[in-house]
Structure formats: C-alpha cells, structure tokens
C-alpha cells in the first residue's frame, strides 16, 4: 500500500466521520427546552422571595419547605421535575431523530448525569450524613439553584457524545454563567447594574432581582438552541 492510498483512505474516513456527526446532531431541542425551563423558573425565585418576607404567611408547599428541605426546597424539586422531563424529552427526541435520519447518538451519558446530578440536592437535604461528611459543599445547595449545575453536567456529557464544537462552546458559556449563579448571590451584580442605570434604594426592584441568577444561563441555552442548525436527512 502506498502513502497516497493510505492518505486517501484517511481522508475518506475523516469525511465520513464529519458527515455522520453532522447528520446525527440533535441537540437543538434539549437546548431550547432547558433554556426555556431555566427562564421559566425566574418568577418562582421572585415568588419564593415574596413568600419568605416577614409578614408572609407560608411557603407554597408544607413538607417540602420544612426543616428537611430548607425553606425554599420546593425550588429544588421543581428543578428535579424539569430535569426529569428534559431527560425524557431528550431521549425521545434523539430516538426520533435517529429514526428519521438513520443515525443515532447514544444518550446514556447525559441521561445518567442529569438523573444523578438532579438528585444531588435531595440527597443533600435528606441524608443526615451528607451535611456532616461533605459540609463544604453547602454553597452549592444553599441558594436552591443547584439545578443549573446539574444541567451543566448533563450538557457536558451531551457535548462529549455529540462531539460538536458548537455545542461545546454553548455548554462552556452556559457553565461559566451557571457556576456563579449557584455559588454566589448573582442578584448583587444585577443590583449594581440597576444602580448604574439610575435606580436608587427605594425604587430598586428587589423582588424581581431574585429571579435574575437563572436569566443569563437560560438565555445562553435558548440562543444556543435557536442558533443550532436543523439538519435531518429523511
């Protein structure tokens, strides 16, 4: 075999790989769904803030806002439900895309990751040992935004199986926006932005700012989903 034949075969292999990859990519729907879901949780953080204020009678769910889950633990459960629906939707969508295009991507990695990471806040709140053995992880759970990070882990797993540069960029941008929203009070930064825009202490929309941490990560996924090419060879 000559160098030219070997080189030609390697070129063929690369071209086939590129084609197969482009044909099996189906991350548009998961990005759109999770982007919309993250944005949809923003009003819930505003609601939690309103209900937590002194003088407010109760939180919306009795048990799930009890000592076990923390006052706003119901937000973690909503994230878990959103991740579960998103995981199911992703599996269905990839199956459907595989049936239509004739080439299917494995969703086992993202599904396992979303499920395991989505359950992390529950394990944290319900296991008496979790707070003792891994107490240093508390910043990840105290703001009830861990769902953003769980979503990031699953997206990283999805980007690995999709082997798409575009999805990696969206995932990394999203993760860069999600991590501060989980471990830091991002509303402080938005507060400063509002101050720069001329809002003073009295007319500052404190309540609305509580929903701000999920906005940027959600927006990144939504724009990423809208920008993803739709390509199905039926």
């Amino acid at each position: 075999m000559t160098e030219f034949e070997a080189d030609g075969l390697l070129d063929d292999v690369e071209a086939l790989r590129r084609r197969a990859r482009a044909d099996r990519h189906a991350f548009r729907l998961p990005l759109l769904y999770f982007g919309l879901f993250a944005l949809a949780t923003a009003p819930l953080y505003v609601l939690a803030y309103t209900l937590d204020r002194p003088g407010s009678s109760s939180s919306p769910s009795g048990f799930f806002s009890s000592w076990a889950f923390g006052r706003d633990g119901w937000l973690d459960l909503i994230w878990l439900a959103g991740l579960a629906v998103g995981t199911g939707l992703t599996v269905w969508w990839y199956r459907r895309h595989g049936d239509l295009s004739g080439i299917e991507t494995s969703t086992r990695g993202p599904v396992t990751t979303w499920t395991a990471a989505g359950l992390a806040p529950l394990i944290w709140f319900l296991s008496p040992l979790a707070g003792v053995l891994v107490w240093f992880l508390w910043p990840f759970f105290v703001r009830n935004t861990f769902g953003l990070l769980a979503l990031a882990f699953g997206l990283i797993a999805l980007a690995r199986v999709e082997r798409s540069r575009y999805l990696w960029i969206v995932t990394l941008l999203y993760t860069a926006a999600a991590v501060p929203a989980v471990v830091y009070n991002m509303e402080n930064q938005y507060y400063r932005v509002f101050q720069l825009l001329g809002f003073s202490g009295e007319n500052m929309p404190y309540g609305l700012l509580q929903g701000s941490p999920v906005l940027l990560p959600g927006l990144i996924l939504l724009v990423g989903g809208l920008g993803a090419r739709r390509r199905i060879h039926a």
Binding site: E3, D12, L16
Partner: protein, 114 residues
C-alpha cells in the same frame, strides 16, 4: 520494528468495510439505508460487507420495524472499535513513515515530527 502494513487487518482494510466501521463507530447505531447512501453501495453489496463484519464479530445487526417497513440497525462492537482504531493508527503510521523516508531522500527538507 515491524512495518505498519503488518497492522492492517484484511477485514477492516477494505474501503467500504472501513467506511461502515467509521460511521458505526461514531454513532450508537446506524441504519442500513443510511450506510447504503453514505457509501454509495447497492443493497446487495452492503449486505455482503455487513455479513463479513458480523461474522468477524466487529458489528451486530438489530432488526426492527418502522411502521410497516423493516429496518436493520448496525451497531459496532467493542472488538469493532478496537479494530477500527488499530486500522487508523496503522494507516497514520504508514503515511508518517512514507513522509519521513521521502524527507530523508530529498535534500533540504526536514522530516515531519510526530
């Protein structure tokens, strides 16, 4: 050191079978029609190549039905992935070796690294 052609597997080395393994290696599973179109083969030819690969344990075939249409899905096995990786390495090594030999015989050129 053995010549890189010694690493070429006769079953995998055939252009179309290498194509089948390449596509299947990049996906969880791939459908017969997709392979036929991507590799520009006739159904009969593709069937023959698949039979060779299946017999060698490099792919498995899953029969299914989509509506009324029967579908055949091709799934690469672990052995198939290994054989594909070995074939690609052997081809890359062959190209590297040819290039460095060429550079040694051509004055004023430097052999390529890596």
């Amino acid at each position: 050191m053995t010549h890189p052609t010694g690493g070429l597997n006769d079953i995998v080395h055939q252009r179309h079978r290498l194509g089948i393994l390449t596509i299947a290696g990049d996906a969880a599973r791939v459908e017969f029609t997709y392979l036929r179109e991507a590799l520009e083969l006739t159904g009969g030819n593709l069937n023959r190549h698949l039979a060779v690969l299946e017999e060698a344990g490099l792919v498995t075939l899953e029969k299914g039905i989509d509506g009324r249409r029967p579908k055949t899905w091709v799934v690469i096995t672990r052995a198939g992935r290994k054989a594909l990786a070995a074939e690609i390495s052997a081809l890359e090594e062959l190209v590297r070796r040819h290039r460095s030999q060429q550079a040694e015989t051509t004055p004023g050129t430097k052999p390529q690294q890596g």
